[in-house]
């Protein structure tokens, strides 16, 4: 199955992006983590029918993408891939909520559609924020930042291993499904019947492989602490980054910018 292998390579590309050399890459991971968390909290805190009020928040991913020299099409593709999972939560809203909240000419927009759009936007923003954080910082550095910010070390280590395990799972899954495909001679093989043992097998294989990797880590002095080669400390630039974005997020949350602009336009231009 080429798609699993493809997904893996694509996934690994994400990790390689974190090796970039932009000013954003060089920022202390804690600053980026805090800003991203604040960004997500801001997005989530909006009213469930909020749509236009959230639009200005897109400035965050756009600015981070361009200053971080990240490939926009690649990140957008990943967002598009993951958003449906978030949107599944609001899938039935248009069916249940028929109250008309907005009229544009003869077009009536129900609360259901508004909240659905709102969830869609939230999904895109939070997923985008998270992906950009990983692409600018790298997962090990994020785990380390979490630990430095007071998250229990066990949690951070677990998170890192979970992430590593994902790679192992994809790799082994790719090998296994290729073996199955080769012997099912272009047909569907045994169909669903072969999947249950296949998945059990996958678990055992990945388990053993993960164990071997863990051994290799232990042999090289791993003691449950991760280090990154990038030396950084929380300095003036980080403080500026953090305070700048926080101020913007809070401002955008407190004042509905599109509405203010709309009011300005309708009041002062006859």
């Amino acid at each position: 199955m080429a798609s699993l292998d493809g997904a893996l390579l694509d996934f690994k590309r994400m990790e390689r992006l974190a090796d970039g050399e932009s000013p954003l890459h060089r920022l202390e991971p804690r600053a980026k983590l805090l800003v991203t968390l604040l960004f997500m909290a801001t997005v989530i805190s909006y009213d469930r029918y909020a749509v236009t009020a959230m639009i200005p928040l897109f400035i965050f991913p756009v600015v981070m993408l361009s200053l971080g020299n990240l490939p926009p099409a690649y990140i957008a593709g990943k967002i598009a891939l993951l958003t449906p999972f978030a949107v599944a939560a609001g899938f039935f809203n248009p069916l249940f909520d028929h109250e008309v909240l907005l009229r544009i000419g003869s077009l009536e927009i129900t609360g259901g559609w508004l909240s659905f759009t709102s969830i869609l936007l939230r999904g895109m923003l939070t997923i985008g924020g998270g992906l950009i954080l990983v692409a600018l910082t790298g997962f090990p550095a994020i785990c380390r930042a979490l630990e430095q910010l007071g998250a229990p070390r066990l949690f951070a280590v677990q998170l890192l291993f979970l992430y590593r395990y994902l790679f192992v799972l994809l790799e082994e899954g790719g090998t296994l499904s290729r073996a199955r495909e080769l012997r099912s001679v272009g047909k569907r093989g045994l169909g669903m019947r072969s999947f249950a043992p296949l998945i059990g097998h996958l678990l055992l294989r990945t388990w053993r492989r993960a164990e071997r990797i863990h051994l290799a880590m232990l042999a090289r002095g791993f003691t449950g602490e991760f280090h990154t080669t990038r030396e950084s400390r929380f300095g003036g630039r980080e403080l500026l980054f953090l305070s700048g974005w926080s101020t913007l997020f809070i401002t955008l949350r407190l004042w509905n910018l599109p509405r203010l602009l709309g009011t300005l336009v309708t009041e002062f231009i006859p």
Partner: protein, 253 residues
């Protein structure tokens, strides 16, 4: 290279299901020696190697590295002395770039900044793959992966190198180059291998394991001349010592 030795005394290892992997293994390897541990599949070679680095805990007996008993307390120090290269480089390389992978060990040892970079650079150049520094390990060829895996261990400047099947899966050219490389290492070297020709070339001394016990321990040539021993331990003479396929004569016995 300071004083370095490996001593295994009456080492026993039982797996949780009751299988005896090692039953009373003893030997001593002194500084600068190059020793092969050979044996059929399931003879206990890999289990033995895992003991040399303290990854497994003995059921009985003891392991001493540089005359220091391997215990929980000495583990960190001793892991620094013993560099372990695993059979499958894919299991050993897990970081996003070659550089990060080689830096993993030294970082765990507490090296930072310029010293860290120097170690990474030296280790990569030592195995001739300095140009692969920024590559992702999964994009490398088998021979390159093996070299990087060795570099990850060299960067920790161990005194003792332990390698599980160093030449397995390599093409003839890559195998030859790797052997040339290993020959130049001044470390105390311990290999397991089924590549008996490599053993003949690189290791003056060989330990034969059979069903978890030492069946023989002595000069490699002597061991490969002992037909009865080889047959009993499900081994064969290296190709170099077998008859020539054209004239039927033996090259070296």
């Amino acid at each position: 290279m300071s004083h370095s030795s490996v001593e295994v005394r009456n080492l026993r290892h039982l797996y949780p299901d009751g299988t005896v992997a090692l039953g009373d293994v003893s030997f001593r390897i002194s500084q600068g020696e190059s020793v092969a541990i050979i044996g059929a599949n399931g003879a206990g070679k890999s289990t033995l190697l895992l003991h040399l680095n303290g990854i497994l805990t003995p059921t009985g007996g003891e392991v001493r590295i540089n005359d220091l008993l391997l215990t929980k307390g000495t583990l960190a120090t001793l892991r620094r002395s013993v560099g372990m290269v695993f059979q499958e480089p894919d299991d050993q390389l897990f970081m996003p770039t070659v550089h990060d992978d080689v830096a993993f060990g030294p970082l765990n040892l507490g090296f930072k900044g310029e010293e860290l970079e120097r170690r990474v650079r030296d280790a990569l150049e030592r195995v001739g793959v300095g140009h692969l520094r920024e590559k992702a390990p999964y994009n490398l060829s088998g021979g390159e992966k093996k070299r990087v895996a060795i570099a990850t261990v060299l960067a920790m400047t161990p005194e003792i190198l332990v390698m599980d099947e160093p030449t397995s899966g390599l093409d003839p050219h890559a195998r030859r180059r790797l052997m040339g490389l290993i020959r130049e290492f001044p470390h105390t070297k311990i290999f397991t291998s089924h590549d008996l020709d490599m053993v003949l070339e690189l290791c003056p001394r060989t330990i034969v394991l059979h069903e978890g016990k030492v069946a023989a321990d002595g000069p490699t040539l002597e061991i490969f001349r002992d037909d009865e021993l080889l047959a009993r331990c499900r081994l064969e003479k290296p190709f170099l010592m077998q008859g020539c396929p054209v004239c039927g004569k033996r090259k070296a016995t």
